[in-house]
Symmetry: C2
Subunit: 477 residues, 2 copies
């Protein structure tokens, strides 16, 4: 899944650069108030500040003594967030370009390597001793090559990772990098980002993460993060939160030892008799059955808390582990399913309908079946001669305040084509071989199957806008 | 520090290969009892078993579908420990040789890379856009090269690391690898080991580890591990253990989320008024002062529980973090010191004395000062004309049952030269620029300084054998 896809799935907003800066060091964003009103002074102040942070970055990469290293890392990570958006951009580009790998050294090693002769290696026993000898030269050079191919900024990443607070800092810094890359595609910064992402994938391997069953007994400081980051079905108040952590519900988060008290990602589960058809039953109704009678664990929300971990697929492993835990705790539960949004459906459908309207009628693909078209035109009260079904559909779906959902005539006429087209969208619309819908791609890649489409499953403004209120159940195993 | 050094420091015995095998699957070690007494049958049984494990290893590396992968990893990791020592050796060599990197592919990429022209990069602003374009080809090729330089067995390591129980399995497998490498130096297996070690260093970075204050309230299953692995000053019974976790003492361990309930390394601390001079005061005497009056945290033991993590320096980070925690909890504590063994002193001294005895008197380095020589000869009652001081010293130190420590004459005569030579051994004897003594090297590399040598600090058999009972305080910061 691409980064944008995951950020859509996780529904976390990319935090803009400025608020962080203004929060951490208000002086940096309003130097005028401090240093009089000479813009010359401001300039030299911010310039000096920038140079300090740049120097601390250089020290953090180049010094070897362990004593000063911690100071340099502290100075850099604190200084970084006191810089303006533009200065952070400048610093990150500098890091990407000037702390890259040494290409002259790489070339030198490559030439040495090409001069080596490969051992015959026909696998006969007599050769193996001789091969070992020849190969040890290969092993040595390959090791040196691997080392030479590491950019200098790897040192900074590695050192920050083992520094208190450093992993969180790297995640925040990567959020900045992703923001910059959304604006402009700089090759060096993209290379740095892909390197950093690989590092984060290693460091945040599921083996390093602790599964935590989040309950009402957890510290408020942790629970407040759940409220802040739950973005699939926002939590409106404390009663809502308490219900989601109460009887018939579960909430699990992945915690990393270096980022205590803050789950990197969490998932909300409802224990039910059957796979839920609407989000209403899950979010607002009281659990209709005692927990011990539940046979289905329904995942109704998964949210990431770290925009800087975009592309690091923690969700897949989280779902897998939660299934294992629930299965062990409650052996009666045999169905694991989601009730998921279809965030891209309406965007796709509206653009299909609009482009059909613009194109020549001879080549136009008719998205509607003849009987659907008749039903729609009849229900809308339009004249069949003047309009075609797709125009009517486009007009109805884009009418203000989703009026169609209040009409007993329009709703059934729209239901058939919408459900059919939604199934087509989920099953057949692909981009580079992957499902076009980011959430669909996420679950299908994890090995889930599409179970059932549910009509009027999410009547919220957001649900109607994204998918005309349709939701889908993905089934795990 | 070299691997042997650390294993000496940590004083964990390299577990031999066979016990694990016999524990996990007794059938594999005694197939005779099962399958009658035909050695032909046994052979084909073990051969079949070997082939099964080899096939599961191959699947674990090569299959891509996530469903079967878990089964393959389970089959491999369970099957591996059911193999005989010799079959495990065969399998590991196969892994190192046949799942190496693809050298033809590497050569192909190298040639492509050498054909690229480096951007001029004179740093002028106008170039930077053009450079970005040229560089993106470099970035792509470098990324591909990094990938091609990864041996195929990396896939197995990565997959095991994210598999439940896999990290522990990798640590156990590496213990096997180290055992084999101690017997024979196979280049391919050494390359595999160094690759695996680098992976383990990344996965076990301190950011991934949780510091746990081990107390009497911890589960017995965890405390039993402390008893089993404490090898610096073995724990004799439950009362001894309880004292080490009681008032005036602390014990901290590093836990990894993927290896629950089993600290990878732990350190024992005594809270004292002054830096202790003998292990007696630390281990057996009741704490003479209330905790709140302590001004010194004394580290008296650090033990690793995983032979397979040899060379992964967890101790350095553990000490650093424990210092931070103690400093925060007890602000009065301002001295952080160790009371450490000097494991290599007597080996070094005896070999020096013995080689002096063998060598020509003209070139012989006299380790003793004239007055020390006189004192020694007088105290031993030998005739000065027949013996020189070094001979006398060698004889005394190698006499059975350390008789010299019970003699009021010999002890003071030996004290002066032993203390002086011990200081020289710790401060000046180096190997490749590092302190010859493994424990000294460990603490000095971590940034500690040598504080004080303590006479008759450890009168145990082990203490006398290693260092004539001398112990040393290393001071942190």
């Amino acid at each position: 899944m691409n980064k944008k896809g995951l950020s859509v799935l996780m529904r976390t907003k990319m935090r803009p650069l400025s608020p962080v800066s203004s929060k951490v060091n208000p002086m940096a964003t309003s130097p005028q108030e401090r240093s009089g009103n000479s813009s010359q002074n401001d300039l030299s102040y911010t310039q000096r500040k920038f140079e300090q942070v740049r120097d601390s970055m250089h020290s953090a990469i180049s010094i070897s003594k362990s004593e000063n290293l911690d100071d340099a890392l502290d100075a850099f990570s604190e200084g970084y967030f006191s810089l303006s958006v533009e200065d952070r951009r400048k610093l990150l580009l500098m890091l990407a370009r000037e702390y890259d790998l040494n290409r002259m050294q790489v070339r030198e090693l490559l030439k040495q390597y090409l001069n080596l002769e490969l051992p015959s290696g026909d696998g006969s026993k007599d050769d193996s001793q001789e091969d070992e000898g020849t190969l040890s030269t290969f092993y040595r050079l390959e090791r040196n090559l691997r080392h030479a191919l590491k950019p200098s900024y790897e040192v900074l990443f590695e050192r920050l990772n083992t520094h208190p607070g450093g992993l969180k800092f790297l995640s925040n810094m990567r959020a900045d990098i992703l923001s910059i890359l959304m604006e402009e595609n700089v090759a060096s910064l993209r290379a740095l980002d892909s390197y950093l992402k690989e590092k984060l994938v290693t460091w945040l391997s599921p083996a390093n993460l602790e599964l935590h069953n989040i309950t009402w007994d957890d510290p408020a400081s942790l629970l407040e993060k759940i409220v802040a980051y739950e973005a699939v079905h926002p939590i409106s108040n404390l009663i809502d939160l308490k219900r989601r952590l109460g009887v018939g519900r579960r909430c699990f988060g992945y915690l990393h030892p270096a980022i205590p008290g803050e789950p990197l990602i969490f998932i909300e589960v409802a224990l039910m008799k059957d796979v839920a058809k609407t989000i209403q039953e899950v979010l607002w109704d009281d659990p209709p059955i005692p927990e011990c009678e539940a046979t289905c664990a329904l995942f109704y929300s998964i949210s990431s808390t770290q925009p800087g971990l975009s592309g690091v697929n923690l969700g897949k492993f989280l779902i897998k582990r939660v299934i294992d835990v629930v299965r062990k705790d409650m052996p009666l539960i045999c169905t694991f399913a989601t009730l998921s949004p279809i965030p891209g459906f309406m965007t796709w459908l509206l653009s299909k309908l609009a482009s059909a309207e613009r194109s020549d009628s001879t080549f136009r693909e008719n998205l509607l079946k003849p009987e659907e078209e008749v039903d729609l035109i009849n229900a809308s009260g339009e004249s069949a001669s003047e309009n075609n079904g797709m125009e009517v559909m486009l007009n109805l779906l884009t009418s203000p305040n989703y009026e169609w959902i209040h009409s007993d005539k329009l709703t059934p006429a729209l239901k058939t084509p919408l459900m059919r087209l939604c199934a087509r969208y989920l099953l057949r619309e692909k981009k580079r071989g992957k499902a076009l819908d980011s959430v669909a791609n996420f679950h299908l890649q994890n090995g889930a199957m599409i179970g059932r489409l549910n009509w009027m499953a999410d009547r919220s403004e957001k649900g109607l806008k994204q998918s005309a209120g349709i939701m889908v159940n993905y089934i795990y195993r």
